[in-house]
């Protein structure tokens, strides 16, 4: 069993690695804010058309929902990653498997380091833009921030596990790009990133709630915005934990079976 410090070093290195891309970060923040404005305009127009309130969201809450979503986009990596699948295809995964650390643990540590940076550098600025342009509905109960932070960590974890499983499909598929494109489209919708799940028609909401996707976006947004009081958010936290456990088992199994069929040529 490798020491925790190995994972800690990886997470720190990953944080530092991302902090060197300053220009890319600035570009990301800019684009993220423009998209936030476009999305907020559409949702605010919908709420205006509905007479000031739509299924529990007033204008300020909808704006907060949009800006929190924009802030989460980078840390949860809603556009997917390709590193694990590329390493499988190129055979580099053989090196990862030789390391004394667990392959998924390694990538999770990297992800946490990266997410930490992305949260600060790409998450906070769109929130400031939102606070200036549309205003934000912030929770009054300090407990909301605490539970919200825990929900956020679990959201990043569940998103990582889902993405890792798509990547691990590369043990059997020659090309996982198509799979990952479909996965991202489904995730964007069912996670409640594009529009709040409360607005879905019943059948679509039922489908969404049966998947781990709401745990990735809707849950941390609800907890952090205080739309759901901290006590109720604890129940959602439990749901996120359950999904994290289920997906961890599934991902570890996938890796084990995949490694058995892995064939790396050359050396």
């Amino acid at each position: 069993m490798p020491r925790v410090s190995a994972y800690w070093s990886v997470a720190r290195a990953s944080f530092r690695q991302y902090s060197t891309y300053r220009m890319a970060t600035a570009a990301g923040v800019f684009t993220n804010s423009i998209f936030g404005l476009i999305r907020a305009s559409i949702l605010l127009a919908a709420i205006h058309a509905a007479g000031g309130e739509l299924r529990g969201y007033d204008a300020l809450q909808a704006a907060t929902y949009v800006w929190l979503g924009q802030a989460l986009l980078a840390p949860i990596e809603a556009f997917g990653t390709r590193e694990i699948s590329q390493r499988v295809h190129q055979g580099d995964v053989a090196v990862d498997l030789l390391r004394p650390t667990h392959l998924l643990g390694m990538f999770y540590a990297q992800k946490l380091g990266r997410a930490g940076f992305l949260l600060l550098a790409r998450g906070v600025p769109p929130m400031l833009v939102g606070a200036l342009l549309t205003g934000l509905a912030l929770p009054s109960d300090p407990l909301s921030y605490l539970v919200g932070a825990a929900c956020l960590l679990l959201a990043i974890t569940v998103a990582f596990l889902g993405d890792a499983m798509i990547n691990l499909a590369s043990f059997w598929l020659v090309e996982t790009r198509g799979l990952s494109v479909v996965y991202m489209a489904v995730m964007n919708l069912l996670s409640g990133f594009l529009i709040p799940i409360a607005w879905f028609p019943d059948w679509l909401a039922a489908i969404a709630r049966a998947t781990p996707f709401p745990s990735m976006v809707q849950t941390p947004i609800d907890a952090l915005s205080g739309r759901i009081p901290p006590i109720e958010a604890l129940a959602l936290l439990g749901e996120q934990t359950a999904w994290a456990l289920v997906l961890t088992v599934a991902a570890v199994l996938m890796l084990r079976i995949g490694v058995r069929s892995l064939e790396v040529q050359g050396g």
């Binding site: 423009i34 127009a45 919908a46 058309a49 964007n188 919708l189 607005w199």
Partner: protein
């Protein structure tokens, strides 16, 4: 026999002196890419279906909102579907031919661009044909069918003039998007690490174009009409086609501004592209 042997090198020399015409080279290049991709049939079909699903979920966003409120930005669901279909069709066409320019910064950094610069063909054409991704047909198919069906359902009564607009609008829109993508690519000669900046105008422009323009507050609407002419791609033509009144800044007659906008954006895009290629200094390759 001896005659024949002598004539062959001469003939091939003559062929070498007279290069293939540009349209013929373009045809050959694109045909070869299409053949290479169609040969992986299962992957190709899966890709196209995946792309159709992606576009479908995008529309689902508008559908969910409209099933709650009935009218968004002064438009009903079928009218919004016309805007969405037209915008998706235009972007799909542009993306098919110019989507790969987004990867220019990688080529600049790796020095791969140099191999393109020494070939006797326009660089833009080479990049465009290099990775013509047929999976992007998915967006075009969904866009086209949504556009046509929604037009019929929305009660479009064609006159020769509006029929002309209905056919030219997707093409003019595709040209505007292609110019935006080219501009974004050209900007990468200056902002190698900042390629994401341009996404705000290309993908952001697509997002704006597929929504009713009236939902945007005035400053945003003005920007996405006069600077990045996104609302002129699908929203304005839809107003004209369906004879709807337009909001402030986008009167119904502005549906006819697609072609002028395309000419203007392409003028700027080609100037910027040329300046960018001239500015490029090799990284050692």
């Amino acid at each position: 026999m001896a005659d024949h042997a002598r004539s062959t090198p001469a003939a091939s020399a003559a062929r070498a002196e007279r290069p293939l015409s540009l349209p013929r080279v373009m045809g050959l290049l694109y045909a070869s890419r299409i053949r290479s991709q169609a040969s992986f049939r299962t992957s190709f079909v899966a890709d196209v279906l995946g792309q159709m699903l992606v576009v479908g979920t995008e529309f689902l966003e508008l559908w969910v909102i409209l099933s709650q409120v009935g009218v968004l930005g002064g438009m009903t669901l079928t009218q919004v579907a016309v805007v969405y279909g037209l915008g998706a069709l235009a972007f799909g066409l542009a993306d098919l031919f110019f989507g790969e320019i987004d990867g220019l910064s990688t080529m600049v950094r790796s020095g791969k661009l140099e191999t393109l610069l020494i070939r006797p063909l326009p660089v833009l054409l080479q990049i465009s044909s290099m990775d013509l991704s047929l999976r992007r047909l998915g967006r075009i198919l969904v866009g086209l069918s949504t556009y046509v069906i929604a037009l019929v359902v929305a009660g479009f009564s064609p006159t020769p003039l509006t029929l002309l607009l209905a056919v030219t609008a997707p093409l003019a829109g595709a040209a505007v998007f292609a110019a935006l993508l080219t501009t974004a690519g050209a900007m990468q000669f200056w902002l190698v690490d900042g390629r994401e900046f341009a996404n705000a105008f290309t993908y952001g422009g697509n997002y704006v174009a597929t929504n009713p323009g009236a939902v945007f507050p005035l400053p945003l609407r003005a920007f996405f009409t006069f600077v990045v002419p996104a609302t002129l791609i699908a929203y304005a033509p839809t107003l004209t086609l369906l004879d709807l009144p337009g909001p402030t800044l986008i009167p119904a007659w502005s549906g006819w501004l697609g072609v002028p906008a395309a000419v203007l954006t392409w003028t700027l895009a080609s100037l910027l592209w040329r300046a960018g290629v001239r500015r490029y200094t090799g990284a050692g390759g």
